[in-house]
């Protein structure tokens, strides 16, 4: 199955070194992150070492190397949200899940990211939970939501 994903992605490339970033982007689109297997397959396709592929990928904060959690929590840290206490929200989520942004909980249920402006500054501070914008979030409200994690 996963075999097909890579072949599928590679089929629209020629296998040249310069295509590395585009391939990485396409792979992350498909499987959500850059897995060890992805690095290995890309390295064989482009005939680069796995170390080089990883080196390039890790330069960009866009690429992640662990599988994302099921429920995605994105705390906005853009200017508007920041002045409205976005970082307090981020701290709260971090404390609650025991991880920092950019990580997923070990059980892969939650995924914690930060965003730089989600485009709805009038609702600041905002948190996006599974693509749904929660507006004017307070730490207590967020805590409450987090406490009902079974719902997610």
């Amino acid at each position: 199955m996963s075999e097909d994903i890579y072949q599928d992605v590679f089929s629209s490339f020629r296998g040249e070194e310069g295509e590395l970033i585009s391939i990485l982007l396409r792979v992350q689109e498909r499987i959500g992150y850059i897995s060890e297997e992805a690095v290995m397959r890309i390295s064989r396709f482009l005939r680069l070492s796995e170390n080089q592929v990883y080196g390039v990928a890790s330069f960009f904060s866009r690429f992640r190397f662990d599988a994302p959690g099921k429920t995605s929590i994105k705390v906005c840290m853009g200017t508007a949200c920041h002045v409205h206490g976005g970082s307090l929200l981020a701290d709260a989520v971090g404390w609650d899940l025991g991880i920092t942004y950019g990580q997923a909980t070990p059980d892969r249920r939650f995924d914690f990211q930060r965003a730089n402006c989600l485009g709805c500054c009038t609702l600041a501070p905002v948190v996006e939970i599974n693509e749904q914008i929660q507006s004017r979030v307070l730490v207590t409200k967020l805590k409450e939501t987090m406490n009902r994690r079974e719902e997610f």
Partner: protein, 838 residues
């Protein structure tokens, strides 16, 4: 070479200078004695322009270019040391230092501290230069001093990265790293190994392989090239970390394989503290493999080296003097018949050692019974291998080749300098093919990987022969896609002007090795290829040429050569008629071999005790307890004697004495000469290796001092018939009782009979002996974990091995690296495997 180069004229620091076009500002400045500080620049690497230490002022430019990356131009006016530039450099340096855990670099008490260690309190706070292995040899320290930086105005940010110590041979403390990228460029540009890369960004930037892998997992060759270029203490050799600067250096030849790299030994207080590649344009071009770079130091310095002769009887050992030892040997030799006396030598000895050894047996003992353990290594393919060696082309042939075929060669840990040469040639666009049943260094980047089933390799070579001769290959046992690849390879080799075939050690102990090697020779004939065998025994050629075989006289002439015998008789002043030649090393593996006297010079005598009534064991390290040895004599290592080796290209190269042997150990030739004199023999008055070479030169051309210095290739032809033992047992396919195929190869990483793993700690991890490799899938199916013991049994064979799970092992195939004496046939053989009960 260019006919004429254009010159340009420019001004640096008010001095008018001229230079060839193409040179950088830094090159021109240095050529004219103007020093510009640098950190990321290194003579072996491409300029990087990363550290910005070398910024200069160029009239007409508004910015400050880096001298290392900016080409000098005609009429340029450059200033390298203005007040402004000095200040900018100092500021950039402080940025480096603000992340560098060695505040000693700018400490006020630096001088006092160096002498009296007054500022002890720093120890717990930072690493401190007194706690860095590079102290005194560090380029960052030198630059800090030369720029006169005594303070850091930026906030200190130490990263607190744990030091990486899990890999063999070198450690990494990235807290000291200045991200100059020299190691990355070395690994990527020069070694073309691509293990090191920059990872992450900004504050988190660090150097290393993918994910959090160790270097071992990431395919590192442990060549140590990155360690050599690191300007700071980040990359540090485990064995040399705290040794400080060497007192002197000595150039010699590596003793670990037939490539014969030139090595620079670092000596301090009459001890070898390290070895680095010599800048040698002929053989290794400034590169080494893990053995030459790291194993040597540990091997020659082992505290268990033998220092005194000693006698062993009934498990009791006691020291004896050299005289007592000689008297004992003389007494035993006088009472043993020539046909029941034998000498076993290792092909790691110098030409001079080997020549004296065979002369001793022929002149004093009146027998041709001298043999090299190399015979056991090659088994039934011995003759075929020697015939193949005859076609050896120089290593430079790789550089000139347009296509290369590697058969059974993995260059990761052995002959890795050849791997570098091949990858360099690949950059140039040559076609590169590899034939190997297991995944190896080249399986990913070769143009074609011919991957036969284990044991089927020779069929593939035979198929190539037929294809090259224009025939079709219809062999159904070769899968269709592989037949296509074979045709592609055969075509490319035939069309290539100067193809080279490199032969590795992987299949040499197969029962099919004779057929395999013969097919390689045929293929070479058909496509007009040069062959490079580069034997595992560094001086295999030397042992042939010096006559250290029962079938060979000095000069590589057959024992039956009457003219050569006559010449030797007059040279040695003794009769050589009627000498026995019925014995060779193969006999040692038989249980019924009842020798009266066996002399093992740098070789391990057989495991079972009954092999000889009396055994002399002459080596660097003591024999294993189960090894038969009645008298143990200490010898000098190759770093402790002068002499010469003949590498796999047949190049004579010097071995130089860098330090004295431990205790009262002596070089092998010296021991044998003293023994011969003790026994009243004539013709052993040699006191220096030059004298031995003088005599050798009379029967073996090419051994004059000037010729050795020229390091030329000796024109040799091999035409003797060697006895080979072989039971060409046909290979059986796996069956339901024996579902696995076990392929055994003899460890090629040996020295004087010992596996390097016995005396060099790091090599136990890289090339362990007596370990069974199994694929991850098979291991899972059998419920095995790394290090578990398994019981392996075949039709006539049973053994318990610890397992090592190897990602690249094909399913259903097992591989074991074993010692010569443990090799059983058939090989490969079908076996069954179960977890051993503990």
């Amino acid at each position: 070479m260019k006919q004429h180069t254009t010159r340009m004229t420019l001004t640096i620091d008010n001095k008018t200078v001229t230079a060839d076009t193409g040179a950088s500002i830094l090159d021109v400045a240095r050529q004219n004695g103007i020093d510009i500080p640098t950190l990321c620049w290194h003579e072996q690497l491409s300029p990087h322009g990363g550290c910005r230490m070398c910024i200069v002022e160029v009239e007409g430019l508004s910015h400050f270019p880096t001298a290392c990356t900016t080409p000098a131009a005609d009429g340029m006016i450059v200033r390298t040391h203005t007040a402004q530039i000095r200040e900018m450099r100092a500021e950039i340096l402080q940025l480096f230092l603000s992340e560098h855990t060695a505040s000693c670099l700018v400490c006020d008490e630096q001088e006092e501290c160096r002498e009296y260690m007054s500022t002890v309190r720093k120890a717990g706070v930072t690493t401190g230069c007194r706690y860095c292995p590079k102290d005194g040899q560090c380029e960052l320290q030198a630059v800090t001093e030369s720029l006169g930086v005594r303070d850091i105005i930026y906030p200190i940010y130490y990263r607190g990265i744990p030091v990486e110590t899990e890999d063999p041979f070198y450690d990494r403390d990235y807290n000291l790293c200045i991200l100059c990228g020299r190691c990355v460029r070395m690994c990527q540009e020069v070694r073309l190994a691509d293990v090191l890369a920059y990872k992450h960004r900004g504050r988190d930037a660090i150097i290393g392989p993918a994910f959090a892998r160790t270097h071992l997992e990431a395919g590192c060759e442990f060549c140590g090239a990155c360690v050599s270029v690191c300007p700071t203490g980040t990359l540090r050799e485990k064995a040399r970390a705290w040794e400080g600067a060497p007192d002197r250096e000595e150039i010699t030849t590596c003793t670990f394989c037939g490539v014969g790299c030139q090595v620079r030994l670092l000596v301090k207080e009459d001890r070898i503290i390290g070895s680095l590649p010599a800048d040698d344009p002929t053989v290794n071009q400034g590169q080494l493999c893990v053995k030459g770079r790291f194993c040597n130091t540990e091997l020659v310095n082992g505290h268990q080296r033998i220092r005194h002769p000693y006698r062993r009887e009934n498990d009791i050992a006691w020291d004896v003097s050299w005289d007592a030892a000689f008297e004992l040997i003389a007494e035993k030799l006088r009472s043993s018949a020539p046909e029941r006396t034998g000498m076993l030598v290792s092909s790691n000895l110098t030409n001079e050692d080997l020549y004296v050894a065979q002369k001793f047996m022929r002149v004093v003992m009146k027998t041709h019974h001298i043999d090299s353990t190399a015979r056991l290594f090659y088994g039934s393919g011995f003759s075929a291998y020697l015939t193949l060696m005859d076609r050896a082309v120089p290593l430079s042939a790789i550089r000139d080749a347009s296509a290369v075929l590697m058969v059974g060669l993995d260059t990761r840990f052995s002959r890795s300098v050849v791997g570098v040469a091949i990858r360099t040639a690949m950059k140039r666009g040559i076609r590169m093919f590899t034939l190997h049943s297991r995944e190896h260094t080249f399986s990913l980047n070769a143009d074609v990987w011919l991957q036969p089933e284990v044991g089927e390799e020779y069929r593939y070579v035979e198929a190539l022969v037929r294809l090259a001769a224009g025939e079709d290959v219809t062999d159904r046992s070769i899968p269709a896609d592989m037949r296509v690849r074979l045709a592609d390879v055969a075509r490319a080799l035939s069309e290539s002007d100067s193809p080279v075939i490199l032969v590795g050690a992987e299949f040499l102990q197969y029962d099919s090795s004779r057929a395999f090697l013969a097919a390689v020779a045929q293929l070479a004939d058909h496509v007009g290829a040069g062959v490079l065998t580069l034997p595992a025994q560094n001086n295999l050629y030397g042992s042939l040429l010096s006559g250290s075989f029962p079938e060979l006289l000095p000069g590589m002439r057959p024992t039956a050569d009457a003219a050569r015998l006559q010449k030797l008789e007059s040279l040695w002043g003794t009769s050589l008629t009627g000498l026995t030649d019925a014995w060779n090393a193969d006999h040692l593996l038989r249980d019924d071999c009842a020798m009266q006297f066996l002399y093992a010079v740098g070789a391990l005598p057989p495991v079972h005790r009954g092999a000889a009534k009396f055994t002399v064991f002459q080596n660097m390290y003591p024999p294993e307890p189960y090894c038969s040895a009645d008298l143990v004599l200490p010898t000098a290592a190759a770093t402790e004697t002068d002499g010469s080796f003949l590498n796999g290209e047949r190049r004579v190269q010097r071995v130089r004495r860098a330090v004295a042997p431990p205790g009262i150990a002596l070089p092998d030739w010296d021991i044998l000469c003293r023994l011969a004199r003790h026994m009243g023999a004539e013709g052993f008055a040699f006191t220096r290796p030059e004298e031995i070479r003088e005599e050798m030169a009379q029967v073996i051309p090419g051994f004059g001092e000037a010729e050795i210095d020229a390091r030329g290739i000796l024109p040799l032809a091999f035409d003797a018939v060697m006895h080979v033992s072989g039971n060409g047992t046909a290979q059986r396919p796996p069956d339901s009782d024996h579902p696995f195929i076990l392929h055994s190869s003899v460890v090629e990483h040996t020295h004087r009979g010992f596996p390097l793993a016995a005396w060099v700690e790091g090599s136990r991890i890289l090339f362990p002996e007596g370990v069974l490799d199994i694929s991850a899938e098979d291991a899972r199916a059998l419920g095995l974990r790394d290090g578990d013991s398994v019981h392996v049994s075949g039709a006539s064979f049973e053994e318990i091995y610890p397992v090592r799970i190897v990602r690249q092992q094909p399913r259903g195939a097992l591989h074991a690296s074993i010692l010569e004496s443990a090799l059983t046939h058939p090989n490969p053989q079908p076996v069954s495997v179960r977890k051993a009960d503990v």
